[in-house]
Symmetry: C2
Subunit: 408 residues, 2 copies
């Protein structure tokens, strides 16, 4: 089995060529090219090429075939052993657009990954969050919008700017919560505080916001001081499981992905405990149509402990505590666009980011941003906002027309 052996030789064996062609066929798109380490180009047709995947080393072929999920692609791309020529998100969209056949082996692997006990205890959760969110506020400031919102934006029109779309998202959430001045809001997982600050500033809410990332909490508190909102927004460096008090609204934007299915019941109990009888709630989360584990490469390098729930799982968190779902909206294509904006800004600052970290870090993050964009485009990820209230409450909006009123 010489093809699995050393890499001194640049020759390509017949077996290697057949295996490489099989990878290309699996993607199924005639506009993709696969280039081997001897510069030999494989193609499915003579259609104009949209992108080329270049295997610079023969071991990459083995990794692509044998590593689970996108581990092979991810590691090879991060190290530079695999290069993608052409517009990265576009090429990944082609690669991801192929129907993912749920072979028995793949199903078994998914099931194992889903049922394997994952620890998202308070201490482990803190470590997971630290891994991702404490890379330094400076790093995120290079490619997020001014408000430092690191969740799907809401573009009233596709041409809105990212800054406009993040404000529009905050406003969309506020309207779905039907906030009135002076109401008490609790936010579970507040990031750098942009939504909490918006709800206090634009809606007169009194907000208590929880987050276990110390870097983010520090930044959010500074912002509250700078904006004169410290009396109306309290940022607590604490776990959502410790939420205490009673609130008119519960909101969580982009935290559920880090909660983990084994804690869904507990999250439901937390919401039940803290929400007033006529309170309203909203959960905004990445999701999936079918139960699948997180991509292992993303899990390892980007989001340890993350899991994207199905809509059935999101609804069950609520229905088990007798909350009725009032409104669900899928914002999948808005996340694709959000990621396109992030990637564009990231690329503008790539040289600087590489100086602070290294080339591998830049390539890892580039692939994560472009790959996520492709995942929302091809619908392997969804983004759902789920609004709810206690089922017995009749203090619910009559229609949704006010969400779309012009005073926006």
């Amino acid at each position: 089995m010489s093809w699995m052996g050393g890499s001194a030789s640049t020759g390509v064996t017949g077996l290697e060529r057949r295996l490489a062609r099989r990878i290309l066929e699996a993607s199924g798109d005639p506009r993709l090219r696969l280039v081997l380490w001897n510069s030999e180009e494989l193609r499915l047709s003579d259609a104009p090429a949209l992108g080329r995947v270049v295997l610079r080393e023969r071991r990459v072929l083995r990794d692509l075939l044998l590593a689970p999920g996108s581990n092979g692609l991810g590691d090879a791309y991060a190290s530079g052993a695999l290069e993608i020529e052409g517009d990265l998100p576009s090429v990944l969209k082609l690669a991801f657009a192929a129907p993912r056949r749920a072979t028995p082996l793949r199903r078994a692997a998914w099931a194992w990954q889903l049922w394997r006990r994952r620890s998202r205890s308070r201490s482990k959760a803190r470590a997971n969050v630290h891994h991702h969110y404490d890379l330094g506020n400076d790093f995120y400031a290079r490619w997020l919008d001014r408000s430092m919102s690191y969740t799907c934006a809401y573009f009233p029109t596709p041409t809105a700017s990212l800054e406009e779309a993040q404000i529009a998202k905050h406003e969309h959430v506020a309207r779905k919560l039907w906030l009135r001045p002076g109401e008490r809001v609790v936010e579970a997982g507040c990031g750098w505080g942009s939504l909490a600050l918006h709800l206090a500033r634009a809606h007169g809410a009194r907000v208590t916001a929880y987050n276990i990332s110390s870097e983010q909490i520090r930044y959010a508190r500074e912002q509250a001081r700078a904006q004169g909102l410290s009396d109306r927004v309290e940022f607590r460096e604490d776990d959502y499981r410790n939420i205490a008090g009673s609130y008119d609204a519960f909101v969580s934007v982009g935290m559920l992905e880090h909660v983990g299915p084994e804690n869904y019941r507990r999250l439901g109990r937390v919401i039940d405990r803290c929400l007033a009888p006529d309170g309203r709630g909203l959960i905004h989360s990445i999701g999936r149509v079918a139960r699948r584990p997180m991509d292992p490469w993303i899990s390892r390098h980007i989001f340890p402990g993350a899991y994207a729930p199905t809509l059935e799982q999101m609804v069950a968190i609520l229905s088990k505590r007798d909350f009725a779902v009032l409104d669900v909206e899928d914002l999948r294509l808005h996340y694709e666009k959000t990621l396109a904006h992030w990637l564009e800004r990231f690329e503008k600052n790539a040289a600087e980011i590489e100086r602070r970290f290294d080339a591998r870090f830049v390539r890892t993050w580039r692939l994560y941003l472009a790959g996520s964009q492709a995942s929302f485009h091809t619908s392997s990820l969804q983004l759902w906002q789920v609004a709810f209230a206690r089922s017995r409450s009749n203090a619910i909006p009559w229609t949704r027309a006010k969400l779309y009123a012009r005073e926006a």
Copy 2:
């Protein structure tokens, strides 16, 4: 156990009085009174009475205690052995507002009713539908709106008329389906055809509508002829399981309640089979926050074979076939208002309906309409509209703003 015996004596024993008081306490509302067959009135407090439940015969007490669900209440009310004084829906709202404790016995009964094999084969489905929908178009015309829409209306404002609200519902559904002129729509369970006719008339759609009620189909075809729409709407007297062809939109308003959970997978396959790659779909159905069997009295006298699914079950019908849920809206309070309109019209024609049927029929339907109104008010029933598309389709609306545009 004299209280369970004959009814010649009008005396009330101590045991009977204690049991009656327990029923009153279970309802928990101090504004309710319970009047026994000897005219003795029981009350929890001296708060002003909002309604009185009068047991005219001693056997009613036994039936209230022993018959499952609302069988005791339903049969006694229908026969006149139990009378409700005061505004019927208001009194039922009080009675239904008490928290329904899920005792182990009750859970076991629910589970048994849920898992018992119910036949909704094509022939049985036809018999079930005939029982309810073929009472005569004249009967329904006495209390439905002009368009003969027998599903939850959509009131743009709470003061809209029923006629306006049914047209608004058709328009709301059409917008959620994102219909364009000339598109092909299939409707599963079309009632008297009002939605199908609206989609053809106002949106230029070509509609194929299925229904197994022969009375309804006959009426719908007449309407199509009268409105000059026969070339654009085809009414087929056939089961949804026989839907054939390919369509740009699938819509089903108020049929899922009759499908039964054992057929949900099959319904999913039917939608998958008939929807074009970029097609859109909408299912509008009564639902419940938690899994519960249909009330047995309603099952027996009004809707044989009916079942109201949870939102999780509705979503699963779609996700199992790789459809992504794009939009969910809870219209529970709109159904409460729809039923209030129906009951008001029903009462105006009660004397005439009684002449055609009999007093028991009128009392049965009055209780059904008032009780349903109370059930939506107290949230033991929900009404969800679920819009969806194939998960891989990117031909989906960018936002929902157009649903609320003024050209309505």
